[in-house]
Point group: D2
Chain length 341, copies 4
Amino acid sequence: MSPSVSVFGAAGFTGALTARLLFRHPSFELRALTARSDVGRRLDQLYPNHRVPLGLEELDLDRHADVDAAVVAYPHGAAAPLVAELIDRDVKVVDLSADFRLRDPETYEEWYREHPVPDLLGRAVYGLPELGYREAITGADLVANPGCYPTAALLALAPLAREGMIEDVVIDAKAGVSGAGRAASEATHFVTVDENISAYGVPRHRHTPEIEQELERAAGALVRVVFTPHLVPMTRGILASAYALPTDPKRPGHAYADELRRAYEKEPFVAVLDQPPDTAHVRGSNRVQVAAWWDARTGRVIVMGAIDNLVKGAAGQAVQCLNVMRGWDETAGLDGAGIFP
Amino acid sequence: MSPSVSVFGAAGFTGALTARLLFRHPSFELRALTARSDVGRRLDQLYPNHRVPLGLEELDLDRHADVDAAVVAYPHGAAAPLVAELIDRDVKVVDLSADFRLRDPETYEEWYREHPVPDLLGRAVYGLPELGYREAITGADLVANPGCYPTAALLALAPLAREGMIEDVVIDAKAGVSGAGRAASEATHFVTVDENISAYGVPRHRHTPEIEQELERAAGALVRVVFTPHLVPMTRGILASAYALPTDPKRPGHAYADELRRAYEKEPFVAVLDQPPDTAHVRGSNRVQVAAWWDARTGRVIVMGAIDNLVKGAAGQAVQCLNVMRGWDETAGLDGAGIFP
Amino acid sequence: MSPSVSVFGAAGFTGALTARLLFRHPSFELRALTARSDVGRRLDQLYPNHRVPLGLEELDLDRHADVDAAVVAYPHGAAAPLVAELIDRDVKVVDLSADFRLRDPETYEEWYREHPVPDLLGRAVYGLPELGYREAITGADLVANPGCYPTAALLALAPLAREGMIEDVVIDAKAGVSGAGRAASEATHFVTVDENISAYGVPRHRHTPEIEQELERAAGALVRVVFTPHLVPMTRGILASAYALPTDPKRPGHAYADELRRAYEKEPFVAVLDQPPDTAHVRGSNRVQVAAWWDARTGRVIVMGAIDNLVKGAAGQAVQCLNVMRGWDETAGLDGAGIFP
Amino acid sequence: MSPSVSVFGAAGFTGALTARLLFRHPSFELRALTARSDVGRRLDQLYPNHRVPLGLEELDLDRHADVDAAVVAYPHGAAAPLVAELIDRDVKVVDLSADFRLRDPETYEEWYREHPVPDLLGRAVYGLPELGYREAITGADLVANPGCYPTAALLALAPLAREGMIEDVVIDAKAGVSGAGRAASEATHFVTVDENISAYGVPRHRHTPEIEQELERAAGALVRVVFTPHLVPMTRGILASAYALPTDPKRPGHAYADELRRAYEKEPFVAVLDQPPDTAHVRGSNRVQVAAWWDARTGRVIVMGAIDNLVKGAAGQAVQCLNVMRGWDETAGLDGAGIFP
């Protein structure tokens, strides 16, 4: 019998896409969808393309938590209490919010608010299998799905940080609008986004401490990261362009790309390119493109990573983690190739 | 009698827009347009919106150089010989190409090719009035119109470099497709650009030495700049996001924005913002938006500049320089407000 | 002394653009801006590109109505009472809403609601100078600025209707998102609009009776029009494609385009093309492109009209009407050329 | 053993996407790809997202025609001779070009040129299973894959034509740029397409006789169709909006949508909607959305159809036909859900 799974908060972009991936997953049974808006509507009314003929229900833990696994797609702060309840009921959880990504509750408090369930932080595993978390995810009760920006940036940078090859990192990231979620606002109005590029969250965006935490873990040393996101007139995709100093300027120029190739040679979702990544080439898929250059003239290492923010940056990564948690083929249900053109 | 002006190379985006601005200029008489393609067609057939009812003619120096001033919108390399001929005939020239931007012929050769008329380099003035070139432009025979990326980056960075406030600069720039020009190619095909963001020219783009030259001149010291351009799915606009180290980390955080405000307080085209610039807010105008932040947490200065690459980054700047050369109001013919939404 | 003008409802797209056009108008003095949101902010904070440094004020008729002329940019229904007050105070009004476009209050009631001030309907003149209303506008107290879709459709169709050349009209219109206004909603969210085309208001859109009214007036006979608008992933522009039967199939094929050329030969804003219009070529301007074809194979007349919905479809048309009302050059303050690329 | 298949002309958008679908098809073995450009490159270099690691080879019939089935994605005119050779060698062919869609060689000559292999026309079956061709496709040697516009228009109109419910049809279609193919030209340059909508092929587009042929076959009577395509600033998607007269104005208003529902009730790819179709909701999938309305006020039937032009309008339809030809489940290899947002 297939293990059962519910998606909590399935009306938003990432929850809905998670529902779609799980509905078509070869080994999961998608049991139920809850939502905080649009209760009573069917998911395929909101997202006809996903073709998931399940209704959106008001949260009823007795019914909805009677499953083997859960994906929680609630906003930051709202997720933690629900996750705590699910863990209490022995449900394996992948949480898409930021609530369990930061291991240190004080850092969480500095960037968000007081953490509602700090005791649970120790049980959460960071859900980026490619960064050495695969084994920990396998045995985890609670997986904190990484943020979309951190996923793009870390997949490009962490292998080099781990080998002690870089320091002093500046990340300039560019993202499509879907990352802002389904809520309509002046910021997501078509006329605001169209024919425009603009930064936001300068100089403090909440994804910064998550990137620092993981680069520090990889490097084994304190890392301070400048991180500036920009909004691009497109729906999906994140490109993280990063600029770092080499720890050893005498290292051969090909060493950085070589290290990425070595790190990812067995990874099913990561392609290491010789040319700059294109977000269009990973759109609609769980794929990642990374590349690295040594600029001898200026003595800088340039690294880039491209993902689809809704797939590898959210829903696809959640399904990948669920696959790892159950010991299945990591690509199960994630073989969709991207859309281009 | 109004001074006469011809545009050489008026079939491309920047030449055509220069023609439009001069055709509607209160004090110039637009005499003739030459082109290397589309000869025999009228400019308003190619660009109905510009509404310039002049024909595109094959180059005939005897006729076309019998003017007071000229704007040359030829590709790099092709421009220099024509400029030399025009200067010989005592025509005041603004050249949109890169041929006279780099003062050192060896640098030109390193990034482009052997310079065709190196003797003329000494007579060219860099055409960025806001950067202290106003007086030199007034008396110049030959003005080298700055590149679009350098204009956006330098207007944000140079005041801080001049005051010795920053060093170690990384520029991550984003631009619309019109900067690639009118030639159709896989790179400018709609399906390549749409719903995509991607870097190009990594790690060596030809605008780098121009930026370095001007920052060095401002700072009075050698500057090496990392410069990475990205292509954004939009037609017009450049946003340059720059990251620098402070020379004095103890400087108050507001010092950087203050210096920009001081530098530009009398400039008619530059607005210093408290929030991140939007390229959409300068689209269609010769306006510039700049902003600066001090990120105390990481000890970095973040600076941004936004322009319309075809206006302040090319045609509008050329007209501004022509105005300066003649001692007119710098904003003559450039009062068009931008389009948004 | 310049006549004074106020804009009522200047926070929205069309009111703000009207304010910008009047602020830069050679002969009007823009006195004040009122708004129903964003009171206390300056217009150039909301729309930096417009560069209008006036504050948005709460409505105070004693102050704001002490002007020679007014443009009202209120929503349908809300406009009529304000217009009535202004007319009472002898202010000449151009109203951008639908409240005074339909001459018959019963038609208004059928498509909108009960008309709040039906007695005023008889004093309103339809503000499309190119359609024979020029003289009436000159003497009018109240001008009903046409809708954006009717402007595009009528400019293409009315000359042929007036000559009795066509009947049985189907209009398939396509518009950018700015026509939906500034309010953020699921319908204007970037991800809804981007990479999509879809119809709305099928089969009853409120602009239909306005189109019918004016075609009937031109043709001198009852006309029923099928009108279907579509939303296009762009910010500005309307293209109306219309399909009609000829009243005389033996008429020569060039008769339709000839008639458009004859009708508009002295019109400063209308261009009659031999090829299909492009909305991009009129973007940012008060210009209109129209074209007509006879399809002998199917016996159909095909007519198209393109405008910028915010300019000729709203704010520019209002300024054009104000110019006519005062007997000035109709193009005063409207000479901005469009933006392309 | 899986039947083998080759794709001829796999470097273009439709050929490449066909290759991708067949490479991931559960029951086909994709044997080889030929191309007329880019020979020697691998398909995943041109289209990284498709992830098809096969090389593009120069045509060598002895090798490439040694397969059970072939998809030909050559331009019109170039396809016919290759198809003839493949049929000679007993290969089952689905041809994506227009060469075998028109049953009457004189009609082909009128709209294209003299037909190169008119004798073969009688063997071709029109590849639109949903329109009553399923059985004929099953036994066919040669399937003429329908054009993208005809697919969208016919799926919306043909059931009503077949029941004799409509006449006098006007089709106003809107399409993304990918339909223009991979060749770079001024027409496909980003700046031409972006922020623009424009018609083309007025009043004669080559897809017209194909639509007429199939509506005539459905209706059993001569049909003349006005068909006007428009280019929309997006990559994928076609929306066909059609306007027809009812043969019986007294028919109840719901009859038209009812008939569509009846016609498609067992069709796996077609959804009949109550609201206007969105191309974004079928993007990336072989799905179709259709809808119909009766406009009692004007006495018109309005019908709409939306598809992804590269999938149901080309590559997906070809795979669907191959499935039908082999008697397999028609959805095999076509279960990808669309991408939205």
